[in-house]
Symmetry: C2
Subunit: 106 residues, 2 copies
DNA sequence: TAAATATATGAACAACAATTCATATATACA
DNA sequence: TGTATATATGAATTGTTGTTCATATATTTA
């Protein structure tokens, strides 16, 4: 028998995946990259320059995001342009941002 | 001159806070606690029992969430009941969950 | 094909975070 | 007041993660 509740029960497995998913947003470098890509695709070198980061730092973090299918690379010549690959990313980013901004106002 | 964009620019400082905020959701233990508290307040021992975790593990993680004002303790006798302290938490949890569930379906 | 440019990646290192264990604090009750 | 119960916390340990540095791969162009 289940207790009545308005909150859906979530499997242990899904909760684990959920925490893994939030981890992608839980790093300054990655969140800056995500924020940048919200405005559109950008090459690795452009990202590095814009964020004032070493190229290898950006590449390493892009690999993490790419492996998780959060960003998608497209090669053009010797440049590789990265774009957000999931329509939910902006929504999650903005939900968190709304919280932070709301908190700042007191 | 600014380039036209539909995406709000966010300060470095705010992006850092945002990533720090998402970190709270980026741990299995904490996300399980948060999920549990979505149904209502619960004592430390009840949380530990329900999640099959050591009491000190739960207390340590609750301290992290408490310090960030994500949960709020209320003492009743020798028990301390924890409840979610921020109305946005459920929203963020559900936004992430929707993404995970959507992904699972393919 | 050689040089230059753009990106990726492996290994080492450093920083950080979660758990464990022991113990401290606080409350209730006999 | 002494004991039991509930929770918190510090220290040590372990596991994880991000960065750095060196180098590899891929593409373009001279």
């Amino acid at each position: 028998m289940c207790k009545a509740s308005n909150v859906k029960s979530v499997s242990l497995d899904t909760l684990f995946e959920l925490s893994e998913f939030f981890k992608f947003f839980g790093d300054t470098t990655r969140i800056r990259v995500i924020h940048l890509l919200l405005s559109g695709e950008m090459s690795v070198s452009a990202i590095a320059e814009k964020l004032n980061l070493e190229q290898s730092v950006v590449s390493h973090q892009l690999r993490i995001l790419r492996t998780a299918n959060l960003v998608k690379p497209t090669r053009d010549g010797r440049k590789i342009y990265y774009a957000l690959d999931d329509e939910h990313i902006g929504e999650i980013f903005n939900t968190g941002l709304a919280h932070i901004l709301h908190k700042k106002k007191g």
